[in-house]
Symmetry: C2
Subunit: 189 residues, 2 copies
């Protein structure tokens, strides 16, 4: 739980009573590889804070291809934010792609924290802003750069992912076919 509190304290201050209030509501759970944290068509039940492991968000396009939109790893919140807030059906999957350890909060507990802790909106707002910037940075270059550049940037930003994640996920995240990614890897080395 401490890792999460540390994370939160980067974005605002919390006294020990508030920390206790938050801690009391988080439950540590584990997911095994390939297990879903939330599923398309179902209402997301939890916000999670990742203690260990990597998740991906993904969906099936109209050709039936499995497309990975993003990877999320240790020391980050994971949730289908808007669908969780609105408690409506998600359109994407969130899947554990390694064994994972997560602190989860139910909607009720998350709302209670928001109502109880003055400044909670400011903290989550800041986290959100940081996430937006990161997402844009990560995804903008995917649109404009060629395949080799995209892969090199990915390696640079997520060196630890290369050997922990199936190549097919990386290929679809980078917007290319898997054989193309293989070819690129060969050319680089």
């Amino acid at each position: 739980m401490n890792k999460m509190i540390e994370y939160l304290l980067q974005f605002g201050s919390l006294d020990s009573e508030q920390i206790q209030f938050i801690s009391d509501r988080g439950k540590v759970t584990t997911l095994v590889t390939n297990e879903y944290f939330s599923e398309a068509g179902k209402t997301p039940r939890y916000v999670g804070f990742i203690l260990k492991g990597i998740f991906r968000t993904c969906y099936y396009n109209n050709k039936g291809d499995d497309i990975t939109h993003d990877f999320i790893d240790e020391n980050n919140f994971v949730t289908d934010m808007q669908k969780f807030e609105a408690q409506t059906a998600a359109t994407e999957y969130i899947q554990a792609i390694t064994d994972c350890e997560v602190i989860v909060f139910t909607k009720k507990d998350w709302d209670d924290i928001g109502k109880t802790i003055i400044g909670w909106d400011a903290i989550t707002g800041q986290i959100l802003r940081k996430c937006v910037v990161e997402i844009l940075e990560r995804r903008n270059f995917l649109v404009t750069e060629d395949a080799t550049t995209r892969y090199l940037s990915f390696m640079k930003k997520f060196p630890s992912f290369i050997n922990r994640i199936p190549l097919s996920y990386i290929a679809s995240y980078l917007g290319m076919a898997q054989p193309s990614l293989s070819r690129i890897r060969k050319n680089i080395s």
Copy 2:
């Protein structure tokens, strides 16, 4: 100013005193086509709410190409959020691509609103969440779909942009060369 208040009221309630407080701090200004709202290398001075016109965010990649990242139009806030909050130098330009009319807020006034109005964080947090979802929806398909599909989706989502925006901006936004976009337009019709 009313258009902005209406927009805000979608995300939370404000009493007439609060509305007055906000209105007193916004100044209506105009920008002509090609004028910058904020510039790379400079600290953003304003948050804006667009009453009329279209902006784009853009930057120059390492080959010197002018790349458009996004379009923003009427009835939306426009700002380099994180750089504005932190008051540090921006890395992108925000440029008017039509004549524009905008309500602007200085950093000081924006902060004063945040300090004065209870629930402001909650309102801006909601707007932020909505923006994140929209940005992701708009940009995710750019990575995985082919050029024709990307253009068709763009036309569907922004039919009014096609005749108001230079094609070169649209081409770079969609991640393709301008002659490719021309070819696609020909094939479609």
